[in-house]
């Protein structure tokens, strides 16, 4: 592997693996709570952070982390208090974030739209040593949260109302999810780019769902797909000289299509196995109630009549 001889490629590959792990790891909770596009929104907001980083000559990665975390917290607050106007407020936040990024980077003495492009669509050669340090630290945080708190995050994402009754700090966990998503966006920013981050959060999860029945399996398969596509995308990008972000996203979609094609025959096979195993035992009880003949059938009819009265009232 001659590409490993280049320090920039070592950094890019390391960053790619971390993106492949973290993006689906947090993405699965976003998909579960049906906020699949949240990553996209955060990506827009992060552009302001990149612009500010250039303007203030501060690390764009750390600045983007700061701004996108603030943006994610704001989005979560809008979700709580915004009610009907929530989506308009979110739209303003997203497009304000994007416009702010373009404005700041043009005001910055060293910045240009060309710099911004590498953050929007990802780039291999620009991943610096300090970027890698930041990416490693941020990825460690994301992995700790998404694996360490998996049961809590699962419960809150599955059924918020029920989670409250199990005594979980629902608001804190919602905020943590948003902050983790924001951190993941900045982890992925250098390799995949801000505009394509969301695809890597959502599509591997959607692909994994084609095969799995459990949350744990979906998580594992999604991360496996994530790592596979980020690594192969980065390598392809090096040899073919194509942009890494676009390559990775196209590969992810290809993985999705492949697994979808595989899923149908697999589901058929599974259905055949189930048929042999037999149905729901409670349904098999029906003959038993039937033996109390007159009793069981008459009340059933009456019961439904009562039900209609209740509804009609």
């Amino acid at each position: 592997m001659e590409l490993l001889n280049y320090a920039f490629m070592q950094r890019a590959l390391l960053a790619a693996v971390l993106v492949g792990i973290t993006a689906p790891a947090i993405g699965i909770y976003l998909v579960q709570r049906r906020q699949a596009l949240m990553g996209d929104g955060i990506g827009h907001v992060a552009m302001t952070g990149v612009g500010l980083g250039f303007l203030l000559s501060w690390s764009p990665v750390w600045m983007a982390t700061l701004v996108s975390v603030l943006g994610a917290v704001l989005m979560e607050l809008i979700r709580w208090y915004g009610r009907t106007r929530g989506d308009i407020a979110l739209a303003m936040l997203f497009y304000g974030g994007m416009a702010g990024g373009v404005m700041f980077i043009n005001l910055a003495p060293t910045g240009s739209n060309a710099n911004l492009t590498s953050y929007l669509f990802g780039s291999l050669s620009t991943v610096s040593q300090s970027d890698v340090t930041a990416i490693c630290l941020l990825a460690a945080f994301v992995v700790l949260v998404t694996i360490g708190l998996r049961r809590q995050l699962f419960a809150v994402s599955q059924d918020e109302e029920f989670a409250r009754v199990t005594g979980l700090p629902v608001r804190a966990l919602n905020l943590l999810t948003a902050v983790t998503a924001a951190v993941t966006v900045t982890v992925a920013m250098r390799v995949v780019g801000l505009l394509l981050v969301s695809a890597l959060m959502v599509v591997p999860v959607a692909a994994a769902q084609q095969l799995s029945r459990s949350f744990a399996a979906t998580f594992a398969v999604a991360v496996a797909i994530g790592v596979t596509v980020t690594l192969s995308g980065t390598v392809t990008s090096y040899y073919q000289d194509v942009p890494p972000g676009a390559t990775i996203v196209l590969l992810t979609i290809a993985a999705f299509l492949l697994l979808t094609a595989l899923a149908a025959p697999l589901a058929r096979r599974r259905a055949r196995v189930l048929e042999h195993a037999g149905g729901d035992p409670a349904e098999c009880v029906i003959p038993e109630t039937g033996k109390e003949t007159g009793r069981a059938t008459v009340p059933a009819g009456r019961a439904s009549r009562n039900g209609t009265e209740g509804i009609g009232a």
Partner: protein, 265 residues
């Protein structure tokens, strides 16, 4: 309102107590001063027409709906300060509760155990409790199946198992029998009978008493956000659905008919 003295001395400390509770949803007043108390070991049914505020009353107890006036206590603690949630099991009114990602029956029921698991780490005893809860509702053989692949009634049984997983002292259930076939209702009624026998307190929303009728100590009927009736369960409502009921008369007893229409309309 919260420092209002108790109006009547009670024998046992109420497990749930609502006094003069008002709640608004959007700009609508949904609860207009509800008084309701459930004592230890009691099984109380909350009845009323669609939209009468049953779910809202229950959701105000668990803190999902903010209360604009009145006081709520759970196990004698004001709701805002109550934190001992492992004593409470909750079955929400069924929605299309499956999330955007597949999850197995066990995974969903295990989340009901989190209130007893420190730091969200499930130990052997916790997994054991999850299995027991699934067996109680007769879903043990579907443990590894995805909840998305269940029928409505099976899904409902999973939600009940999730509430039972923490071995609660108080069960709050919003229409637990909705969409559950008669055979499974009998199974669940038997489960509930055992729970009540062990001292569990139950507050549940029902549209028909059905197989649960013999268990119910008291019925509270809501209409338009007010308590219309608080007392013995209206006999006529569940009588026909009761397997033991003798159909001697083709029509109900003369006194029963007005009660039924009065309570459920």
């Amino acid at each position: 309102m919260s420092d209002e003295p108790a109006t009547e001395p009670v024998i046992s400390e109420p497990v749930i107590s609502l006094r003069g509770v008002r709640a608004e949803l959007g700009s609508r007043t949904v609860l207009r001063g509800i008084d309701l108390s459930v004592h230890r070991g009691e099984v109380v049914a909350l009845l009323g027409a669609n939209g009468s505020g049953k779910s809202t009353a229950i959701r105000s107890v668990i803190g999902q709906v903010p209360v604009s006036d009145g006081a709520i206590e759970i196990f004698g603690t004001p709701r805002a300060r109550f934190s001992d949630w492992k004593r409470v099991g909750y079955v929400p009114q069924r929605t299309t509760a499956a999330g955007g990602v597949p999850a197995t029956v066990t995974e969903v029921v295990a989340s009901g155990r989190l209130s007893r698991a420190r730091f969200g780490i499930l130990r052997k005893a916790d997994h054991e409790a999850v299995r027991r809860a699934l067996a109680l509702v007769g879903m043990a053989d579907r443990a590894k199946d995805s909840v998305n692949a269940l029928s409505g009634g099976q899904h409902q049984r999973v939600l009940i198992a999730r509430a039972l997983a923490c071995e609660p002292e108080l069960l709050i259930m919003d229409e637990p029998m909705a969409g559950v076939d008669l055979a499974s209702q009998e199974v669940l009624a038997e489960t509930l009978r055992k729970q009540v026998g062990e001292g569990t307190t139950v507050l549940l929303v029902l549209h028909e008493l059905g197989p649960l009728e013999p268990l119910i100590d008291r019925a509270v009927v809501l209409r338009d956000g007010c308590v219309l009736h608080d007392g013995p369960p209206p006999k006529a409502v569940g009588q026909h659905a009761l397997p033991g009921h003798d159909h001697v008369h083709p029509h109900a007893a003369p006194g029963a008919e007005p009660v039924r229409t009065g309570l459920l309309s």
